[in-house]
């Protein structure tokens, strides 16, 4: 508790000191993850997401245990980790689609799926895998669906909704394709269209689930640039699930490494290098010192 009340900057330096101390002593052990809280640029920022003591059990298996995570508004946080580490489970729990066995989740001080959150959160899944195969809609029609909510769902889109759609399509750079059938687009373009749908909903907090899978290098880079702009120019809070550690390290402010609990939570710039990561994850050296290769006997 005392630690909680401490000035965040002071806490940061204290943790930094203890991490450095541990590193000097050479006892950085996988069971003691280093936690360096990112010093907020503006201390008055409100909390977008607060996950405390979250435990999620799916079909008898504990996927997440005692997870604590706090995200401030305007942050760009990446959750990284290997396949099956529970990244997507965490995202679905935050959204309220998976029941928490224990612990609490608060988004903008509200419970997930609360009516007060309608339209404030956006969800962007991996487009190529999640769009129905037999879909026949144009980019414009798809993005328009992002503006549908409980109040306006029976009405035709008004001018305000139309302008939101137009702006969202411009932001992701799909104007030339706004009348194009979505099935004729490339994987990266589809992903942009789905992002535009989330932007059009005017969400302040957008959760992305593996949007970088299956797209080429240029598209990936422009997507990352787009996310960066969303965060810095539009003040959106971004939580991104990805297993692309290097891409996230270049883009996110803060990284959370998830594997049987949170193993690292801190600024992307101090994300551990490969050997440190191996130590944190408890991966042992399997190769002995290189041996001399004996020539094969010919038969």
């Amino acid at each position: 508790m005392a630690k909680q009340q401490m000035n965040p900057t002071a806490r940061f330096f204290e943790q930094l000191d203890s991490a450095v101390q541990k590193k000097r002593e050479g006892n950085l052990i996988s069971t003691n993850p280093i936690t360096i809280n990112f010093p907020p640029r503006n201390l008055n920022r409100s909390t977008a997401l607060e996950v405390s003591n979250l435990t999620v059990i799916r079909s008898g298996k504990t996927i997440l245990e005692d997870i604590n995570l706090e995200i401030k508004t305007g942050d760009f946080v990446a959750i990284v980790g290997p396949n099956g580490s529970g990244k997507s489970t965490l995202a679905l729990s935050i959204l309220g689609f998976l029941k928490a066995h224990n612990g609490t989740i608060k988004i903008f001080e509200e419970k997930p799926l609360s009516k007060k959150l309608n339209g404030r959160i956006g969800w962007v899944p991996q487009a190529a895998a999640n769009l129905p195969k037999d879909l026949k809609v144009t980019v414009e029609e798809l993005v328009m669906l992002g503006t549908v909510d409980a109040k306006n769902m029976f009405f035709r889109p008004n001018a305000e909704r139309k302008s939101r759609v137009k702006k969202a399509i411009e932001k992701v750079g799909l104007e030339p394709y706004s009348k194009t059938d979505i099935s004729k687009l490339s994987g990266g373009q589809k992903q942009r269209a789905v992002i535009a749908k989330a932007i059009a909903s005017d969400a302040e907090f957008i959760i992305f689930d593996e949007p970088l899978v299956g797209i080429d290098k240029e598209t990936r880079n422009s997507l990352l640039k787009l996310l960066d702009n969303l965060c810095h120019d539009e003040g959106k809070t971004i939580l991104m699930i990805s297993h692309d550690i290097t891409a996230m390290r270049q883009t996110a402010h803060r990284m959370v490494y998830l594997e049987e609990g949170i193993r690292y939570d801190g600024p992307s710039s101090s994300f551990p290098d490969f050997s440190l990561l191996a130590a944190i994850r408890g991966i042992v050296q399997v190769h002995d010192a290189p041996k001399e290769v004996k020539p094969k006997e010919e038969e």
Binding site: F97, W123, N130, K136, A150, M153, K179
Partner: protein
């Protein structure tokens, strides 16, 4: 006076006006005789709603839902026939709605996903119908023709009560589907995102299941339980090949569906073939023609480009 009769009285003068323009020997009768007018109107109403509904079923990857519900409704009809109901369609409606709610629950609770839950209800209620017919009616069962008419459709035998039921179901379903099309499309594309935006996804899906059940039951009389999918899925699948947006797809589905139904009725009237099967056949032929000409067209374009 039911809704069907009101619509009939409104449209009848128009049909009579068109009658002299219609080709064939028997076909113009559909525009003149009240009995046949009822059939024509029922067929057209059912086609309009079925096309719209089918579009969503295809996108939801639930093309077989219609077929499943049709079999379920056959079970209901059998029960109705045994109980001596004047309009067994009401029993079919009850059975179909209960089954569709159960299927929706099984799927949304992930107890059984996809087609498996449909298959169980399809065979279960069909078997119930056959069982009841055999046990209660025995070998001297006289309603074979009636049962036959529900299996393969009997458009020409359209009593007023059936037309009223069909009209009520079609008009209400069309209004509901049109009103919730945006919410339904958003739910189909991404139920998670739709729920976060505030769309009541579960209620929308439940209502959609009930509408599907009701529309399929109204189609049974027109095209037959075994052939329901022909009007539900084929026009939408054909339209999908030649349209580039949701709007144009909705429009083309109606065009293809109405062409299938009207030319199907024409052919069946002139060649004295069963209406239901002829409509289904025409719809399938149109699909094949559209698909082959589209491929041929694309081939020609590619050659020109090279």
């Amino acid at each position: 006076m039911g809704l069907g009769v009101i619509i009939l009285e409104l449209v009848a003068p128009l049909l009579e006006l068109l009658a002299p323009l219609m080709p064939g020997d028997t076909f113009p009768a559909f525009f003149k005789l009240e009995m046949a007018q009822r059939s024509l109107i029922a067929a057209i109403m059912v086609t309009i709603v079925a096309g719209f509904l089918g579009l969503f079923l295809i996108m939801k990857n639930q093309a077989l839902m219609g077929d499943g519900i049709a079999h379920v409704s056959f079970g209901g009809i059998a029960v109705g026939v045994v109980l001596g109901a004047s309009s067994p369609l009401w029993y079919a409606l009850l059975f179909a709605i209960i089954a569709s709610i159960c299927i929706n629950e099984l799927q949304s609770r992930e107890i059984l996903t996809g087609d498996a839950s449909i298959a169980i209800f399809l065979t279960g209620t069909l078997a119930l119908g056959l069982f009841i017919l055999k046990v209660w009616e025995g070998d001297e069962f006289t309603g074979v023709a009636e049962i036959h008419s529900y299996l393969f459709g009997n458009l020409l035998l359209m009593p007023e009560e059936s037309l009223d039921l069909i009209a009520l179901v079609c008009v209400v379903s069309l209004i509901l589907l049109a009103a919730m099309r945006n919410a339904l499309l958003a739910t189909t594309i991404d139920p998670f995102a739709a729920r976060i935006q505030g769309i009541p996804v579960r209620r929308i899906e439940l209502l959609f299941s009930i509408i599907t059940a009701a529309v399929v039951v109204s189609m049974v009389k027109v095209i037959g339980a075994l052939l329901v999918t022909a009007l539900l899925v084929t026009p939408a699948a054909t339209a999908k090949q030649i349209s580039s947006s949701f709007k144009s797809c909705v429009f083309m589905t109606q065009v293809v569906g109405l062409i299938s139904v009207i030319s199907g009725i024409y052919v069946s009237a002139e060649m004295n073939s069963g209406t239901g099967s002829t409509i289904a056949l025409v719809a399938a032929i149109i699909f094949v023609i559209v698909l082959t000409s589209k491929s041929a067209f694309n081939l020609v374009i590619k050659k020109h480009e090279n």
